[in-house]
């Protein structure tokens, strides 16, 4: 039973990271109908940006204020990257065939990933410990302060996003653009601005996810974007692509699934089981667990 609760805690931590990253995929897919392949590389970039900001500005002090400043600066920098990405790699291809946009997204992802390599080097870098190492032992189950922070902060951010999308005028504009861009434009919505906003939100949430990856796993590499990006995208599909609560649910479920697979079966086969789960879900429920929210044109 100890293993169960331990893996539950680990799974929820990983799952909330997946969920944060998955939101970037699902929001972009909802409006642009495009797999934002560069999102994973963006998440990796945010961890490296965090590394540099920590080293240059926050050298010695690791007060709470400094940590918050790092998070805010990294989120802002990554959001800028996201805006550049949309402006130069995606916007010129809005009217082009779907596959052209996919290739452009893959190209952008190669640029970002190898840009990281050229700037920070190909070797693995160790992320600083920004959170004090506090552990609680609850009946044999070890939970760290970091895990609690990751889980709470993710839930908080996701709740804020949900409120923003469902209850504000800007959120309504995002939902309208996802259903029908032309109709949204006719209602006076500036769709270009909505898309920029989506990239800002998606990239900054991804940046928080990237920092969490650095804090939780410590070792960061320039290639890690593929791995986490793919898992987050799977999470988005499991929940139903374009569906924001779906991405949160999908992320948590995928995190739990991978944790239990590593805990009970074998970690060397984790990828295989994950994709098996994805294929099974797509066969049984082709639109994900909560249903996709993507307007289909026939």
């Amino acid at each position: 039973m100890d293993t169960f609760f331990q893996q539950l805690a680990n799974g929820l931590t990983i799952g909330s990271i997946y969920a944060l990253v998955a939101l970037g995929y699902t929001m972009v897919y909802g409006v642009l109908k495009l797999i934002n392949f560069a999102h994973g590389a963006l998440v990796a970039a945010s961890a490296f940006i965090g590394l540099t900001i920590y080293a240059t500005i926050m050298g010695e002090s690791s007060s709470l204020l400094a940590v918050i400043a790092i998070f805010a600066l990294v989120a802002a920098a990554t959001a800028c990257l996201g805006i550049l990405l949309e402006r130069f790699a995606y916007r010129p291809l809005r009217q082009a065939p779907r596959l052209s946009a996919v290739v452009s997204a893959l190209g952008a992802s190669l640029i970002l990933q190898n840009g990281i390599m050229l700037v920070w080097g190909p070797q693995m870098r160790i992320f600083p410990q920004l959170v004090p190492q506090v552990y609680w032992n609850i009946g044999g189950v070890v939970i760290s302060l970091l895990q609690v922070i990751i889980l709470l902060l993710s839930v908080l951010l996701m709740a804020a996003l949900y409120f923003f999308i469902e209850k504000t005028r800007m959120g309504a504009a995002i939902r309208a653009s996802a259903i029908d861009q032309d109709a949204a434009r006719l209602m006076g919505i500036n769709v270009n601005r909505v898309i920029t906003l989506i990239f800002v939100i998606g990239s900054s949430l991804g940046a928080i996810g990237g920092l969490f990856i650095g804090l939780y796993y410590r070792g960061i590499t320039f290639e890690m974007g593929w791995q986490y990006g793919l898992y987050a995208f799977i999470a988005a599909i499991i929940g139903g692509i374009g569906n924001i609560p779906g991405a949160m649910l999908g992320g948590l479920l995928l995190g739990l699934f991978t944790a239990f697979i590593s805990g009970y079966i074998s970690s060397t086969w984790a990828d295989a089981f994950t994709f098996l789960l994805l294929i099974l879900i797509l066969i049984v429920r082709p639109t994900g667990l909560l249903g996709e929210r993507v307007a289909q044109k026939v």
Partner: protein, 318 residues
């Protein structure tokens, strides 16, 4: 370009490939073999992606499956390389059919992710040394040389011509596909699956057929690859390779000259500019983005059949 001129260009290109190995030293002969092998894989990817319009991002799986079939049969069971060829075509083709059957109805982007998944699972199987056959992360090495009727053809030139014959066979299949019922079915399927279904094309069967055919050809290319290096290892068939094949087809424009150009740019240019190897993918990324912005249908877009230009309406596919 008129049809006779393009035919002349094609003949000149093939003739150039026939004499090429005698003009090169051994390092560039190896590069030329790589060009031929990857061109075959890219053409096999084109059948699935370019001709049938299915978003397949796992072609390296079938390439690797062919290579590993040859390697396992040769090293573990002592089969001569030539005898492994039919098996190295059939096993990937069969897997292509079995794997694609439950997923071909999925919409483009889902298909893309599932095929990436197949590729990743495949590499994981290779690395975990399933059944003690695949040799784990190191792969299998020390394969026999090519031998035909008791004559050992160990030289690079022999492997080059082996690859060349495989390329010719592939080009023959592609040319036939262009003019056959199956090729037309795939074309309509790509243009509009619902309309294709409504005029009586069994879209499911043809989708699976495209996967099977593409997988078989990629498997054959895998045999040549294994023969060239006398070895196979998992990293040659990672899903990054699949992404490259995927991009080559679309950047090239899904036409035969476009695909050759794409393979040249992706695999041969890096050999010429070796000192800039760390910049390779960074530069490719920009090339991919700019090509798609400037020429969304690829550098050398394919045209199908003899449809007069005024009948072809610009369309959005996918």
């Amino acid at each position: 370009m008129s049809s006779s001129l393009s035919r002349l260009g094609g003949a000149a290109f093939l003739l150039g490939l026939v004499v090429l190995p005698h003009l090169l030293d051994s390092r560039w002969q190896a590069v030329a073999i790589t060009f031929l092998v990857f061109a075959v894989v890219a053409l096999s990817q084109d059948i699935v992606l370019g001709k049938a319009g299915m978003f397949n991002m796992g072609q390296a799986l079938f390439f690797g499956m062919g290579a590993y079939t040859t390697a396992i049969l040769n090293s573990q069971f002592g089969w001569p390389i030539v005898a492994t060829i039919p098996v190295a075509i059939l096993v990937p083709a069969l897997f292509g059919i079995i794997l694609s059957a439950p997923i071909v109805h999925l919409r483009g982007d889902y298909l893309l992710v599932v095929t990436i998944g197949f590729n990743i699972v495949f590499v994981q199987v290779l690395q975990n040394d399933l059944g003690g056959l695949t040799g784990g992360p190191n792969g299998i090495f020390g394969l026999d040389s090519l031998a035909l009727f008791g004559v050992t053809l160990g030289s690079q030139v022999a492997v080059y011509y082996f690859a060349f014959v495989v390329l010719l066979v592939t080009l023959g299949i592609m040319a036939n596909l262009e003019r056959s019922k199956a090729g037309r079915a795939l074309h309509y399927l790509k243009q509009d699956p619902i309309a294709a279904e409504s005029i009586g094309i069994n879209t499911r069967v043809y989708r699976i057929f495209a996967f099977g055919l593409g997988a078989g050809i990629a498997g054959l290319a895998g045999t040549v690859f294994a023969t060239q290096y006398s070895a196979v290892s998992p990293e040659g068939f990672e899903f990054l390779q699949s992404i490259l094949f995927f991009s080559i087809v679309l950047v090239g424009g899904s036409s035969i000259p476009g695909i050759f150009l794409g393979v040249f740019v992706m695999f041969i240019l890096p050999e010429i500019f070796r000192e800039f190897s760390t910049w390779r993918y960074f530069v490719f990324g920009f090339a991919m983005v700019f090509t798609m912005i400037l020429r969304p249908r690829g550098i050398w877009p394919a045209r199908f059949g003899r449809i007069p230009a005024f009948l072809v309406r610009p369309h959005r596919d996918g």
